[in-house]
């Protein structure tokens, strides 16, 4: 199926829209006896229950020499637990139609469950979720297999321009900071990982003190409390606080990496460390980026590169807000022969945006999209679950969604202009071009 917008463009949008809101969402919050944080929205419209349990166990907890360990741990949690082999776990889940998946991001990792809310189905699937979270066996054979599969995937990726570019981009932006490491790891680090490394990573990071349990669906508060106790009671306890991560230094000067590749299209990425979840410029940058390259066909980048010149199918920009400044990224793919032309237009568009800022009309349109589109952002249980996890992990206020549109609305033209001027220096962007013979 083909879509007018690309997934990467939509992906860019999602990062942004992932935070906008202005209507009340009745979030209930409490702490379990063992110390896990619980976020719950009761929703009786459908007989289903969505649950996520997340920890400070994302890619940022990887040491450079063990890149890929965090991801390997998340992916192997459910491959054997409390003596049950993986086959039994998979079958028992399928028997009740439940869907269990690992979630893995730069900052956080955990498990997500979707189940019917009827008693038999709910009990059976929650029992399995509790087992994989609390008593994972990490069977040697499953670890070895997943390592081999990951290494095979990395070898394949090493031939594809998209992943080649992404890896070079993150490495150039973040250097030795864990955000610069590939989340799935590297061939040389994965080869060294052992079962005991996975087990130790689990005990250190999947601890009750860090657990964020989110629940949306067809259960009462009392049932939600029971479920949260069941999921948190047997989790490991923290022994020592996790180490602080290094500060991210903004790049002093621009850098352009050209990586040769025979593909018909060049993959171009530009960017710099952007903003964090709690950034004081969050709303100004968020709004400004919608105008620059986050708003799809309403954005300047799409207008200049695609609509006016037909140079690319997909061109976008986004901020990925993380615990520490995540990337600001502009990306596109274009026929190798015209990559320099496309790059020049992107740079000109960015520079003009940073220098002159948006127009009053653009700002008004952006606010109308973000404010008017709020109800679409919480129109399903699955989307609400995503917000609960976000609020819980980043310790955002419970009224974060209610307040979001107000904060967006208060942003002025001067705020956007000022924030972009201070935070995005077109001259110090990292540029990665994968394609062609590697020369300009």
């Amino acid at each position: 199926m083909l879509t007018k917008l690309t997934t990467s463009l939509l992906g860019g949008l999602v990062y942004f829209l992932a935070s906008a809101a202005h209507a009340a969402l009745p979030i209930q919050h409490w702490q379990t006896a063992s110390g896990a944080q619980v976020y719950f929205v009761e929703s009786r419209g459908l007989p289903l229950l969505d649950v996520s349990v997340e920890f400070d166990a994302g890619a940022r907890r990887d040491a450079p020499a063990q890149a890929g360990l965090a991801s390997l741990t998340a992916r192997t949690l459910s491959l054997g637990a409390s003596g049950l082999p993986e086959e039994t776990i998979s079958r028992r889940l399928a028997d009740v139609g439940a869907q269990l998946a690992a979630s893995f991001e730069p900052d956080r990792a955990g498990m997500t469950l979707r189940t019917l809310s009827s008693e038999r189905e709910r009990n059976q699937s929650l029992d399995l979720l509790a087992r994989v979270l609390q008593q994972p066996d990490f069977p040697e054979s499953a670890i070895e297999r997943e390592k081999a599969r990951t290494i095979a995937g990395l070898k394949e990726e090493s031939t594809q321009p998209g992943p080649i570019g992404e890896k070079a981009f993150y490495a150039a932006l973040y250097g030795a900071h864990p955000y610069g490491l590939p989340g799935t790891g590297k061939i040389e680090t994965l080869t060294t990982l052992q079962r005991q490394d996975v087990a130790a990573f689990y005990r250190r990071h999947y601890v009750v003190e860090a657990a964020v349990i989110s629940l949306v669906g067809d259960v009462s508060r009392a049932q939600a409390e029971t479920i949260a106790e069941q999921l948190s009671a047997g989790l490991p306890r923290a022994t020592a606080p996790l180490p602080a991560l290094p500060v991210i230094a903004p790049p002093a000067r621009g850098e352009t990496l050209r990586i040769p590749h025979p593909a018909s299209q060049s993959h171009i990425l530009l960017g710099t460390p952007g903003m964090s979840r709690n950034d004081p410029d969050y709303f100004a940058l968020y709004l400004g980026n919608y105008i620059l390259g986050g708003g799809g066909f309403a954005s300047r980048l799409t207008d200049e590169v695609r609509e006016k010149r037909g140079l690319a199918y997909s061109v976008y920009s986004y901020f990925l807000p993380l615990a520490q400044p995540g990337p600001f990224q502009i990306g596109l793919q274009t026929k190798q022969e015209q990559s320099q032309q496309a790059l020049d237009i992107v740079r000109t568009t960015l520079t003009r945006f940073v220098t002159e800022g948006p127009t009053q009309d653009e700002l008004r349109r952006a606010k109308q999209n973000i404010g008017g589109g709020f109800p679409l952002r919480i129109d399903s249980n699955k989307k609400i679950l995503g917000y609960l996890g976000l609020i819980g992990f980043y310790q955002l206020p419970l009224n974060y969604l209610d307040d979001f549109a107000n904060k967006v609305d208060k942003v002025t033209l001067a705020d956007v202009k000022d924030a972009f001027k201070r935070r995005i220096d077109p001259e110090s962007m990292v540029t990665v071009i994968v394609g062609g013979d590697g020369e300009k």
Binding site: L116, K155, G310, N369
Partner: protein, 454 residues
């Protein structure tokens, strides 16, 4: 890569809420309107489905259905080029479009009170689209970039394209939806114009609305905006039936990649008579038994146990205007060769043919069907998709109840029987990716992707 067609039928979903929901109405000009009321959030999705997809294209202009989809955003006398998307965005909405073999669809997601805006814009471009040379010249470049991104630079996509082209010899399903590059390079604005005039008419469209709406009001609103549009005669559609396949077909695809990959396509029937057919339902269950969950047969045997593969998948879609294919794809593990993996897949098929499936496996697939019924109702967009897909392929949303009953009535013997009858070499096409080493430098500008003649 393969659509996980697992339970494509099953996912169609029981109507939620009132027994009468969804509601159907036909305008005098022949346009069908289907409304599903879902009051869970104050939003609405509006989708317009044209029964014209890549299978309705002619040789030499493959890809035109999708090119026209792009051109539908290029303006009318009242709404200049590019404004459609901006107007919806300013109303807080999201919008997009997609083209498939069977249909082309356009959608908007909005706050409920903005529904009239979506209708107004869609009705306008159904009749008044302006196709200029200038806009076409730019947009065809965008589409070629899309093809490069999705297919030309993706080894597995190239394999899949070749598999499809080899598996079918007469039916237009053998052509990629995005079109062959040479056809795109030679496409003219007249081709897009002819396509628009031929297929874009209210009597070839179905409007599907799901959300916090009252169906009678939506019918009235549809009458206001779409009612004045004129029906026009549609061209006859030729059946273009595939001739019988007479033996296995094999395709080798060389492309720059690291790992090999194989894809198998077996010719199988699709749903024709929802209340009498048995085989399409049995094939749906079979795909669930082979690949419905992590411990389903293919993953369990080939990824987890023998470790011949790093990934394996199976897919089948019973709802389709054209001929059906039962697809299996797999990537061998390092050090394993493709032939051994092919043998491994064949052994799993042979096991179903010889021993059948257990009552437990059958029940497990059906449990997933029941759960999927509920899960799909969490998304208004998806509920609309399912209605639109059925309507665009000649079925009715009303068929879903019967289809679910029939699916639930499938026996283990029927699953074994379809495996025996259809998963046979005489109806098989097998495509293999032969990975070529990367050249660090591109020797000449035209040596890679030599298909691009210009």
């Amino acid at each position: 890569m393969l659509t996980k067609a697992l339970l494509g039928i099953a996912l169609l979903g029981l109507a939620g809420g009132a027994a009468a929901n969804p509601y159907e109405h036909r305008l005098a000009n022949g346009m069908k309107v289907i409304v599903k009321e879902d009051r869970r959030a104050p939003v609405v999705v509006s989708q317009i489905w044209y029964r014209a997809g890549s299978m309705d294209e002619q040789n030499g202009t493959t890809g035109v259905a999708h090119v026209l989809e792009h051109m539908m955003f290029k303006g009318t006398p009242k709404v200049p080029a590019g404004q459609f998307s901006k107007i919806i965005a300013e109303a807080g909405g999201r919008e997009n479009a997609f083209t498939n073999r069977d249909y082309t669809a356009y959608f908007q997601q909005l706050k409920t009170d903005k529904l009239p805006l979506a209708f107004k814009l869609e009705a306008d471009r159904m009749e008044n689209l302006v196709l200029t040379e200038q806009e076409f010249a730019k947009e065809i470049q965008v589409v070629m970039e899309e093809r490069r991104m999705r297919t030309d630079d993706k080894p597995q996509a190239l394999v899949f394209e070749q598999l499809n082209a080899a598996a079918l010899s007469a039916h237009p399903y053998r052509h990629p939806v995005i079109g062959w590059m040479d056809d795109l390079e030679n496409m003219r604005v007249e081709d897009a114009r002819a396509w628009y005039q031929r297929w874009y008419a209210p009597n070839n469209a179905t409007l599907v609305v799901v959300g916090d709406v009252q169906h009678e009001e939506v019918f009235k609103l549809a009458q206001t905006h779409f009612g004045p549009l004129k029906a026009h005669p549609l061209p006859a559609r030729k059946p273009q039936q595939e001739p019988q396949q007479r033996g296995i077909k094999r395709v080798l695809v060389k492309a720059q990649a690291k790992l090999p990959y194989i894809a198998l396509a077996y010719r199988v029937p699709v749903l024709q008579d929802v209340s009498q057919d048995i085989e399409p339902y049995a094939l749906e269950i079979l795909s669930g038994v082979l690949d419905g969950h992590a411990a389903a047969r293919l993953n369990q045997a080939l990824v987890r146990e023998s470790r011949l593969a790093t990934d394996v998948g199976a897919g089948y879609g019973a709802i389709s205007r054209g001929p059906g294919l039962f697809l299996i794809e797999a990537t061998p593990s390092e050090g394993q060769n493709v032939l051994d993996l092919e043998q491994g897949i064949r052994q799993e098929i042979a096991r179903v043919q010889r021993e059948g499936i257990s009552a437990e496996e059958l029940q497990r697939v059906k449990a997933q069907v029941v759960a999927a019924q509920v899960y799909q109702r969490d998304s208004m967009f998806y509920q609309g998709m399912l209605i639109g897909q059925m309507e665009s392929t000649g079925l009715s949303w009303r068929d879903e109840k019967v289809m679910l009953e029939r699916l639930n009535a499938v026996t283990a013997e029927q699953v074994q029987a379809v495996a025996q009858k259809y998963l046979q070499d005489d109806g098989l096409t097998l495509a293999t990716l032969d990975p070529q080493p990367m050249e660090a430098k591109r020797p000449t500008q035209n040596s890679v992707g030599g298909r691009h003649a210009h």
